[in-house]
Amino acid sequence: MPDLESLEQVEGSKQNHDLVLFALSTCGWCKKARAFLGDHDIAYRFVYVDLLEGDELDEVFSEVKLLNPQRTFPTLVIDDEDVVIGFNDSTYTEKLL
């Protein structure tokens, strides 16, 4: 994944994986995904794609289209290789805990 400048770091004591969460500020499932990561004190980087503009939006949008052609959110990228689309508590638990 390219080094996207718009990603914001969220600190956490669990740093077992490199996590990047592409989210929308309007999306309830994205809120649940962020709550899961926060509740389990997991470090991750994220961006609200719908709040970006111009070149930043183009850059991130291109990346999301490659990872998830349907462009649904949240899209979680684990260690630059595993892509989890949508939020499901048991899937996140299995992959991250």
Binding site: L24, S25, T26, C27, G28, W29, C30, K31, V49, D50, F61, V64, R71, T72, F73, P74, G86
Partner: protein, 87 residues
């Protein structure tokens, strides 16, 4: 930044969505922890774009490009089949 969504607006849209859903033999998700954020997202997107863009899908830049993802979107039935709720 979009203005905060007022409780009255949420209730009004909730009522309308219940009516629309039941008329089509669908049901609004009774789990309010899912439904309320969805409604707030729909209100925010209606203000932002002028139509009920799905809060969990990214705009293609125009109403024409977004026709398939205006709520209720083209993917509703597939989502219901797979997840029992829309995604």
């Amino acid at each position: 930044m979009t203005a905060e969504v007022a409780p009255g607006e949420v209730e009004k849209l909730f009522g309308r969505l219940v009516q629309e859903a039941e008329a089509g033999a669908y049901h609004v998700n009774p789990d309010m922890s899912n439904t309320m954020p969805l409604i707030e997202g729909l209100i925010t997107n209606t203000r932002r774009y002028g139509y009920r863009l799905c809060p969990c899908r990214l705009t293609g830049g125009s109403r024409q490009a977004d026709l398939d993802i205006v709520c209720p979107c083209d993917y509703r039935d597939a989502d219901l089949d797979e997840y029992d709720t829309c995604f």
